[in-house]
């Protein structure tokens, strides 16, 4: 990445677009603290993202498909997320509600390994939503999802932002970005070309 300057406010959905290899995923990794920039600064709520335990109290990350515990069911994976995170103030969806929203109610007691790739993607997203977060970093969350659920996902992103949360996602789906009311920023050759669309 080069000469990249970006501010994202609370309650905003920012969608990074661009062809493969332009640095979208790298930027997300920098924002999550999994990768340190060789020059320049990255700040999340005023502090460098360090990837330490405290950072993950309020940040949810969905990059590539997670590794699943083969002995745990879909519901138990979500329970595990709840066990490992302190709840934030305010209402939050129960595990059963999340399973329903992500259309996994009928597969709650199935091992993720027996689910289809699209169902596993929905479970991975449900696990991100199960975290009590204020910032979501999503790398191509539309992957393997059918068109109908992409619409559902867009609505959830909008709802999350309306609740005060911030979303930064890399996507190849302009319809999803528009439906989520995202500020779409085009990346090219590791640089931010600017806003290409606003909804």
């Amino acid at each position: 990445m080069d000469r990249l300057d970006l501010d994202v406010g609370d309650g905003e959905v920012v969608a990074l677009s661009g062809v493969n290899g332009t640095g979208k995923s790298t930027l997300l990794r920098c924002l999550s603290g999994l990768l340190s920039p060789t020059a320049g600064t990255v700040r999340v709520w005023g502090a460098p993202p360090d990837g330490r335990p405290g950072f993950w109290r309020t940040v949810g990350l969905a990059a590539e498909e997670p590794a699943w515990y083969p002995g745990l069911t879909a519901r138990e994976h979500l329970d595990l997320v709840r066990l490992t995170h302190e709840p934030l103030p305010g209402p939050s969806a129960s595990v059963d509600e999340l399973l329903d929203v992500f259309e996994l109610g009928g597969h709650a007691d199935a091992s993720p390994l027996t689910l289809s790739s699209g169902q596993r993607q929905r479970l991975a997203l449900a696990a991100v939503w199960a975290r009590p977060s204020r910032l979501l970093l999503l790398d191509e969350p539309e992957q393997k999802l059918d068109q109908q659920f992409r619409g559902v996902l867009a609505g959830m992103l909008r709802q999350y932002a309306d609740g005060g949360g911030t979303v930064v996602l890399a996507t190849h789906d302009p319809v999803l970005a528009a439906a989520a009311g995202a500020r779409v920023l085009a990346m090219s050759g590791g640089r931010l070309e600017g806003a290409v669309a606003s909804a």
Partner: protein, 492 residues
């Protein structure tokens, strides 16, 4: 929020649904412990029961240099694989969470420490045994074991701290430098055996106490650093470990070689260059081997430095013998393997041949050249050092090194081209018990080394000091080399 212990308990409880360990599992564990104890008991009794005169200073110096080079190699390997890694599911669900990072990683770090300590105990006892053990009993052996364990724990701890600091590459380069310097010092000791008034042998007890104190200090630093261990470093190491585990479970060692090479090339920015216009089509596949080697020049430098190892080993062991012959053979194979990267990559694939529109003996013959040159070059360099160190006396033995080249080249290409383990091969069924032995992985391990060992026997005969002079074995080696190359090309 729950503790790490509670979370792990949940995962364990769920995992037990798929089956508790049966009596056969416990039997296997117990049998492994008993067999391991029996195997270790003999050498340990040997160490404790026999006095050995201390080595002369120059041999002890060579031994110390080998130990230092071994520690540097351990540090480089530990840095390359992690060393702190957790199962992939733990990496995603526990590391990327607010859970106490120290509690999440404690088990992985403890495993690294135990492995390092056990390896160190074995190395310490072995070194003490070779260096000389004038007194009987547990005392000196225990001191050596403690020193070995402490040194290895220090090395592993340094690798962990480097991983936490994101300085793995720097530490690996430093380790390579230390290893090269250690081999150079060993070589100096081998070439200058008479150093009046100087002895590298230091009193073992103060060394052990210092090493243990250093190990405790490093362990404390690691424990302190664990609380803020960066998640990214654990995640990438866990991915690497996942591949290594898959390779072990699936008996697919090629995975490991592949990921090491992929990791190397992924971290480099390459510049496209045109292929030479004069290059005939049948030489095109071989050219990629030359080009890839040219893009890894440091590998040639390391190969050149390791050519001193046989002399250092010979001096430390007290003369040439089968051990030195084995080191020569293994070193030559290792050096020649640097020229077989392309074969390793397109092993078993006809795509490349179709791409270039070529095939057959000409292509295979062209690809033999680079491994052959590397094998002969390394053997000649190693032989020269052995001659300069006075371990060997006849310069004619250089001809044996040259004669061994073709066989080693074919062996290395067979090693590189063996590809995946054939798990569908017909197993051997034991007539009495009805149990069966899979043959795919046995064939995999034997492939390549069969040609190297069987074809290289005449050279090994000379190098290990077999009776009868060098002329006949060298002549036999030339004939065997010709036959092996002819057979190799005929099958293409």
């Amino acid at each position: 929020m729950s503790s790490v212990g509670q979370v792990r308990a949940l995962v364990r409880a769920a995992g037990r649904r798929s089956g508790r360990p049966g009596w056969t599992d416990w039997y296997l564990v117990a049998a492994a412990i008993v067999v391991g104890s029996l195997l270790a008991g003999g050498p340990l009794a040997d160490v404790l029961g026999q006095a050995v005169a201390p080595l002369p200073a120059y041999r002890a110096a060579a031994l110390v240099s080998l130990v230092v080079a071994g520690c540097a190699a351990l540090l480089a390997v530990a840095g390359a694989v992690g060393p702190v890694a957790v199962p992939p599911a733990d990496a995603y669900w526990l590391v990327l969470s607010p859970l106490d990072r120290r509690a999440v990683l404690a088990r992985a770090v403890a495993a690294v420490g135990v492995v390092a300590a056990v390896a160190g105990v074995l190395a310490g006892v072995a070194v003490r045994r070779v260096a000389g053990l004038p007194a009987y009993g547990w005392g000196p052996v225990g001191v050596a074991a403690a020193a070995g364990a402490a040194v290895c724990v220090c090395v592993a701890g340094a690798a962990v701290l480097a991983q936490a600091a994101g300085a793995g590459a720097v530490v690996r380069r430093a380790a390579a430098g230390v290893g090269v310097a250690a081999v150079a010092c060993g070589l100096a000791a081998a070439l200058r055996p008479a150093w009046p008034g100087w002895s590298p042998v230091v009193p073992p007890t103060p060394v052990s106490v210092s090493a243990v104190a250093a190990a405790l200090l490093v362990s404390g630093l690691v424990w302190w650093r664990l609380a803020v261990f960066p998640a990214g470093a654990v995640l990438s190491a866990s991915v690497r470990w996942g591949v290594v585990t898959d390779a072990a479970v699936g008996l697919e060692p090629s995975f490991v070689a592949r990921i090491v090479e992929d990791g190397f090339w992924r971290g480099r920015r390459l510049r496209s260059r045109p292929w030479p216009g004069w290059l005939p089509p049948w030489a095109a596949p071989a050219w990629q081997d030359w080009r890839m080697l040219g893009r890894r020049p440091y590998r040639l430098v390391v190969s050149l430095v390791t050519a001193a190892l046989p002399a250092v080993v010979a001096v430390a062991a007290g003369g040439a013998g089968l051990l030195v012959a084995v080191v020569l053979l293994a070193g030559a194979v290792s050096a020649a393997s640097a020229g077989a990267s392309g074969v390793r990559r397109d092993a078993g694939s006809a795509v490349l041949g179709r791409l270039f529109g070529v095939g057959g003996a000409a292509v295979s013959g062209a690809r033999l050249v680079l491994p052959g040159v590397l094998a002969v070059g390394w053997l000649v360099a190693a032989s020269v050092v052995l001659l300069l160190a006075g371990v060997w006396v006849s310069w004619w033995w250089l001809l044996v090194a040259v004669a061994a080249g073709p066989v080693l080249a074919v062996g290395v290409l067979r090693l590189a081209g063996r590809g995946w383990v054939d798990h569908a091969s017909v197993p051997v069924v034991m007539p009495m018990s009805g149990s069966w032995i899979p043959t795919g992985w046995i064939v995999w391990w034997v492939t390549g080394w069969d040609v190297v060992v069987a074809g290289g026997l005449p050279s090994v005969w000379v190098w290990s000091g077999g009776p009868g002079g060098w002329v006949v074995p060298a002549a036999v080696q030339v004939v065997v080399g010709g036959v092996v190359v002819w057979g190799w090309l005929r099958r293409r």
